[in-house]
């Protein structure tokens, strides 16, 4: 149990979760704080540093997006914070602090990475739930939807009566917009969109504080995807859970999340509100990503994209791993990993970028830094 040196957890009300108000007024409570987390696949020379010294805070009640190219470490991070890593993956450093709240008060943070098996069972369902991409594989093909929905309740709420569990299952299905006459259906009888909704219903069963969703809608078409995302957003406002939404589709994240973190080669390189990132992305990689997808509306602009290819995580370039693809690379970029800089974001103190361009004394900072004014 780590609590030394933690920022004083505020018990102030959660900031209005609407996207424009991702503001930090009143410092929203952290819910999960990832500190210096590193995860490798394998050991020694051949080790893949899939997650590398990541710092990231998920706040209570927020919709946080995590974007990055394939192989940037998003899923590995999701597995690490839910303790679902399987060998050869292993945590090589850092901590994942979870701030539980009892009767409205935040109590001592717990380090998720130190939880015992029994504690972990509770953590995983009651506090943190997961929705992964392949809902078909995640659902048990030979068990009907109602049993799958009530399984978690049976395990975690042993006092609950059977009739109440069934009623709860109906309520959950209704909540995610699947007709209750599907309760006795088997997964294969449902469409991909319905299965994904059932997965979300299961995640909601024990009213968790955080739902981690890894590419939950990637396999669905845009209309179904929109239906599900709107449902999740309605539920978040109603039940005030937070979610971490992982996808490679940055345009989708900017569309739905309050704040977005950008990952590159195992590192979080920038975080800021959706609005801020869309209008003033600071990291050259984030800027490149924004220049990579054609906008559906608004004026047609020339898209510059990102030159080159994602790096091999076993043989990362020294210094900033983005330097071979970066138009702004300086000498120092090839030598030393850049420090993180806090940039001024109106109404928020969250815009953080990890790039030498913004480190004092290295280059004219293109954006105002927090300590400058």
């Amino acid at each position: 149990m780590t609590s030394g040196g933690l920022p004083a957890a505020s018990t102030l009300a959660v900031a209005e979760p609407h996207h424009l108000a991702t503001a930090d007024h009143g410092a929203p409570e952290p819910l999960l704080e990832i500190r210096g987390l590193s995860v490798d696949y394998g050991d020694g020379q051949g080790a893949v540093h899939a997650v590398d010294r990541v710092d990231l805070v998920i706040r209570r009640g927020e919709a946080l997006g995590l974007a990055g190219e394939s192989g940037s470490g998003k899923s590995t991070l999701a597995h690490a914070i839910t303790r679902l890593l399987r060998p050869p993956a292993h945590v090589t450093g850092g901590e994942v602090l979870f701030y539980p709240r009892r009767s409205g008060e935040v109590v001592d943070a717990v380090d998720v990475l130190q939880l015992t098996k029994a504690q972990l069972r509770r953590y995983r369902w009651e506090h943190v739930a997961v929705v992964f991409q392949s809902a078909m594989n995640a659902l048990n093909p030979v068990v009907d939807i109602r049993s799958q929905l009530t399984d978690a309740l049976r395990a975690h709420r042993p006092d609950m009566k059977k009739a109440d569990r069934y009623a709860k299952a109906e309520e959950l299905l209704d909540l995610v917009g699947v007709s209750v006459d599907r309760l006795r259906s088997y997964p294969h009888q449902l469409s991909g969109g319905m299965r994904q909704r059932v997965m979300i219903a299961m995640a909601l069963a024990l009213e968790p504080d955080l739902i981690v969703m890894d590419e939950p809608t990637t396999a669905l078409d845009v209309v179904t995807q929109r239906q599900i995302l709107e449902k999740i957003e309605d539920l978040r406002r109603e039940l005030s859970f937070a979610y971490l939404f992982i996808t490679h589709d940055l345009s989708l994240l900017l569309d739905i999340a309050n704040a977005v973190a950008i990952m590159y080669a195992g590192r979080v390189v920038e975080i800021g509100s959706s609005q801020r990132l869309y209008e003033h992305a600071a990291h050259p990689y984030s800027q490149g990503l924004l220049q990579s997808f054609p906008p559906l509306s608004g004026p047609r602009r020339t898209l510059s994209g990102i030159p080159g290819f994602p790096p091999d995580l076993r043989a990362l370039p020294s210094g900033c791993p983005f330097n071979p693809r970066c138009a702004h690379a300086m000498d120092i970029c090839r030598v030393e990993y850049p420090p993180s800089t806090l940039l001024v974001e109106p109404g928020s103190t969250r815009h953080v970028v990890t790039c030498w361009r913004y480190a004092s004394g290295h280059s004219e900072p293109p954006l105002v830094k927090a300590d400058d004014g």
């Binding site: 569309d255 054609p294 994602p310």
Partner: protein, 399 residues
């Protein structure tokens, strides 16, 4: 006739493509009333008489492809886009319909003609991982079609050709790429090899089925740029099959919107995405991620309802009617014909049967409901509609 004063639009590569230009020339490929039905097993054990049932994957689809121009085919998953692609590439035999390629009708094709057609009309697949054989080098993949089609006479010539193909798809230095195995290439590089392979046989039509959806966001753009460069430089006709309507806006001139096996709207890509006329297109545009819209003018809620339609028992009349907020009686009874939205666009929706076309409808604005009684198009529109429905290349089709 297209408006001669119509502004010249710029495609992302900077070429100017005016509406007039592509309407003046004859299409390279004309597809008329294409249908593809797949037989299905009747699931119900109780039916004593085994009924023949079919999935109407593609039902009466017509379009033209022009040299040096791209056409997008967009729609939700299961709408039949890939089936159109496969049927047009003649990987599958259409159930009915006409394909007229450079003036020759498909019905009369001998095997040799079909073989020639299959090299003229090339398909690029979604999955660059599955489309290359893992045990063979890049050189092997590109030399094979050259040899099969007798396009080279010596190994030396083959190698030179392969190097040139790799350069055309910007896989440079080509002499370093040529001997690599697929697993040594990234997804984007593999897709370039797949594109180079289709170019080997000097096709005039490319059908690209979700060519970038399996690639990383950061490399999608370069592959799409490559395709659109090739369209321009090699005067290829491109059918770009995708569910990504935003990329279709950027990389194609014209767009077809498909729903439940049918084309529901057709027109210039910019107009279709910016002022969609058909309620389904409006839904598609509204549902697509669009930070420009949501971060500048506030987030929108789409509240889409309904499920993908059955293609075995498609809804009567307009297939979109169970999900359409504007559905009227006539929509349930009769299949809407193509109504002109303006001179370059049509939409198969009864809402347009009334007086003026709703060309100015914004993606989210509801197209005004018309009373079900006024289904006869006014004469001016009727002429436009007849013109649109007239098979433009019938005249050039000869056996």
């Amino acid at each position: 006739m297209a408006d001669p004063t119509a502004p010249i639009r710029l495609d992302p590569t900077g070429t100017s493509v005016s509406q007039r230009e592509w309407q003046r020339t004859d299409p390279i490929l004309h597809v008329e009333s294409l249908r593809k039905y797949y037989p299905v097993q009747d699931q119900s054990i109780r039916s004593v008489v085994s009924r023949r049932r079919v999935v109407r994957a593609v039902d009466d689809v017509s379009f033209d492809l022009y040299a040096g121009a791209s056409l997008a085919l967009v729609g939700e998953s299961g709408s039949g886009k890939s089936t159109v692609g496969r049927a047009v590439a003649r990987l599958e035999r259409p159930t009915s319909g006409e394909i007229v390629f450079k003036g020759t009708r498909a019905g009369s094709w001998r095997r040799s003609v079909l073989r020639r057609y299959r090299s003229d009309v090339q398909l690029i697949f979604q999955d660059p991982y599955a489309s290359l054989n893992p045990v063979h080098t890049v050189a092997y993949h590109l030399e094979r079609p050259l040899r099969i089609h007798h396009l080279v006479s010596s190994r030396k010539e083959a190698r030179a050709q392969v190097l040139s193909l790799l350069e055309q798809v910007h896989l440079t230095p080509a002499d370093q790429v040529i001997d690599k195995l697929p697993h040594e290439l990234s997804g984007g590089q593999r897709q370039r090899v797949a594109i180079a392979r289709t170019l080997a046989v000097q096709p005039s039509v490319l059908i690209a089925d979700e060519p970038v959806s399996m690639l990383d966001v950061s490399v999608r753009l370069s592959v799409l740029n490559l395709l659109s460069d090739l369209v321009r430089k090699k005067e290829l006709a491109l059918l770009y099959v995708t569910h990504d309507i935003a990329s279709a806006r950027y990389f194609t001139e014209r767009m077809l919107v498909m729903y439940a096996g049918e084309i529901v709207e057709s027109g210039p890509a910019e107009a279709v995405t910016q002022q969609p006329a058909h309620p389904y297109t409006q839904l598609l545009v509204a549902a697509a991620p669009d930070p420009e819209q949501s971060l500048r003018s506030g987030r929108r809620t789409v509240r889409a309802t309904g499920e993908n339609p059955s293609l075995i028992n498609p809804p009567s009349g307009c297939r979109f009617h169970p999900r359409c907020p504007h559905a009227m009686d006539v929509c349930r009874r009769e299949r809407p014909p193509k109504f002109a939205v303006d001179e370059t666009r049509w939409s198969a929706c009864w809402l347009l049967s009334g007086s003026e076309a709703k060309a100015g409808a914004s993606p989210n604005a509801a197209v005004r409901s018309q009373s079900a009684s006024s289904v006869t198009p006014p004469s001016a529109l009727a002429t436009a509609q007849e013109r649109l429905e007239e098979p433009t290349s019938w005249s050039v089709a000869h056996d």
